[in-house]
């Protein structure tokens, strides 16, 4: 009996080990080649985002944009006597990996600031790590409200972000629908923090603007068939469906909505603003909001993309490259003050956090400055519409 168990057990264990070993990128100590300037001291700006897995394309765009900002600062000798360095550590888009990455960066005494993370859920677990080490953290992409505001209180003084939040995204969508003459909307959300929060903010603003919510339904992200929920909202005759959640559910939902005899547009937040939404069943005229303006729609954005291209990176800047570039420059701006009289990089950490509050300059995405919660004062959003099988910007506005 025992020998048979071993016969079965060993391959299973070996197989499991082999499977889990695949796909994890070897620890990322890929520092940028920003030539050291003789006797000058080194300060490091960390970057932590997913560089492997589903979201790696977005993550690598963030990494490269930060490197670009660091290269430019070194070339211009923005901070006399100091050489900046960028160090990237992969968070794989997972909270537990992100915590390890943050600990690694916090342990490096030259690190004075960090750009990251991409996912709100990851930032939630990296915030305390950076806060304890007094390292300023600037996220280019987090939209989760609770990261900067828990019942009107700011949880971590070290956390800032260059993109606006879900608290703005939902109301922005509500105003857009009203402006399009849509007064009756049904909502569905996936009951997760992001989806439920977004939907609640949307409903509140939509009612305030004089619209009617015909039904509020919930689904779980394990469900694949929505026929019964669609039959349930159909009698209310809504003119559109607002969905709080992400594209893996939203795409099929849009297709099943049409099959269920309810050919109304679906609108969602940045969670559905993804090409895969269309591949999974998103229909023409479906809508999504996302933070910021499309990078190639402004003169500053075009010039950033040209510089990015000239620097010869092999990956695209992606949707958050410009925000990461501005985040890195915000840190560099703060370092101008904090590194001036500092002996070591570690000594400058607390001063950098303080200096962040006064940072104000015109970046690629507009004015870069932070309010008392660490949120950006720049509240630009864009509505995208599915047109000809792709997301096309329909309206960019300041909320």
């Amino acid at each position: 009996m025992r020998s048979t168990l071993i016969k079965v057990g060993v391959p299973v264990v070996v197989g499991a080990l082999a499977l889990s070993a695949c796909g994890s990128r070897s620890g990322g100590g890929s520092s940028s080649g920003s030539g050291g300037g003789g006797s000058s001291k080194v300060a490091t700006i960390g970057v932590t985002a997913p560089f492997s897995g589903d979201l790696s394309a977005v993550g690598l765009g963030i990494e490269n944009s930060v490197k670009l900002a660091v290269q430019q600062a070194n070339a211009k000798k923005t901070i006399p006597g100091w050489t900046l360095k960028a160090e990237a550590v992969d968070d794989q888009g997972k909270p537990e990996v992100g915590t390890n990455a943050a600990t690694k960066l916090a342990g490096d005494s030259t690190v004075v600031g960090v750009v990251g993370n991409l996912n709100s859920s990851v930032s939630t677990s990296t915030q305390p790590v950076f806060a304890k080490a007094n390292i300023v953290q600037v996220s280019p992409a987090n939209t989760g409200v609770a990261l900067t505001n828990v019942n009107g209180k700011r949880p971590y003084d070290t956390y800032f972000r260059t993109c606006t939040t879900d608290a703005i995204q939902g109301p922005f969508a509500a105003k857009y629908l009203i402006s399009q003459g849509i007064k009756k909307v049904a909502t569905i959300n996936d009951q997760k923090t992001y989806g439920a929060g977004l939907t609640a903010a949307f409903e509140k603003e939509f009612k305030k603007e004089g619209g009617t919510i015909t039904a509020s339904q919930t689904i779980t992200d394990a469900q694949t068939n929505y026929s019964s929920v669609i039959s349930q909202i159909k009698p209310g005759a809504p003119q559109a469906l607002y969905y709080g959640g992400e594209y893996p559910q939203a795409g099929p939902l849009s297709k099943q909505l049409a099959q269920g005899g309810l050919s109304i547009p679906v609108m969602g937040g940045d969670g559905i603003y993804d090409p895969k939404y269309i591949a999974l069943g998103g229909r023409a005229n479906d809508l999504a909001t996302s933070v910021g303006a499309p990078t190639d729609s402004t003169a500053a954005g075009k010039s950033f993309l040209a510089q990015y291209k000239a620097a010869g990176f092999s990956n695209e800047a992606g949707g958050y490259g410009a925000y990461a570039f501005d985040a890195a420059n915000a840190i560099i701006e703060a370092l101008k003050t904090s590194l001036k009289d500092a002996k070591t990089a570690q000594d400058a950490r607390a001063a950098t956090v303080k200096a962040m509050a006064n940072v104000s300059f015109t970046g690629v995405t507009g004015k870069v400055a932070f309010d008392s919660f660490g949120d950006t004062t720049n509240k630009v959003l864009t509505v995208y519409k599915v047109t000809g099988g792709a997301w096309v910007a329909a309206k960019t506005d300041t909320f």
Partner: protein, 307 residues
Amino acid sequence: MTLFIQQLLNGLTVGSLYALIAVGYTVVYGIVQLINFAHGEVFMIGAFGSLATWQVVCRSNTGLWVLPIMIVGGAVCSVVVALLMERFAYRPLRNAPRLAPLITAIGISIALQRAIQLWYPGATSNVSYPSIDGVTGSSLTIGSVVIQRTTLFTLCVLIVSAAALYIFISRTRTGKAMVAVSQDPDTARLMGINVDRIIAAAFAMGAILAALAGVAQGLRDSNVSSTMGFLAGLKAFTAAVLGGIGNIQGAVAGGLVLGLIEAMATQYIPGQFGGNAWSDVYAFIVLILVLVFRPQGLFGARVVDRA
């Protein structure tokens, strides 16, 4: 009334899929008293197998003629996986304590999910499934009831499979041998029945039905994912227990009942504990009630007590 009929149809469609998968659980349990928790993954492999067949063999044609080829492709994949599973994971453990094959089943389930995620292109998230002319597309309307083409397809699949299954069990030698083994494996062996072959046949039969369910679900939802087997497997297991585990008619009825409960709960339970997200809760509450008051299931378990 329209809404009631609409939800009745929705429930029957969802229930048909549960029923098809549940038969696989119940047949295997009836014969070897093993709850094959990896059966949900066999269903998932069937869906991915049919998708791969469509991409490679049918070269992405969407005519109705590709549907039988997809079904055969999906069925071949899931049968091969089920047979390998039976031969290399369960057969060596046949005389081991009950817990060993159960844990093995969970291990296989995780391994299969990960294998698809790693090696099927794009399967780290949902993969879109083709629309086939005739069985997907514009829905039919009778009065104000919307009947989707996939609903008709799913119901037809269940009816045809149930009839085929009945004929197989009651008329063929292998089917009768299966009944014999489930009643008394030792005597069956003495009568010259090759028990190993019959067990393999039971796994294969469950796999074919699971593959059919995989194709039907892919067409209905227009996408498939590597994790689709988990919840479907759990629901089908519930359906099998609801109907009386080991009992084939019970599994079919249990699946349909479960689907109906979910659809009706979405429609008719209002307020905070109502709505679609809570429908699973009501399905499982019914399961608990059945287990408490009628532990043998609605149709009675067909398990011969073995000393």
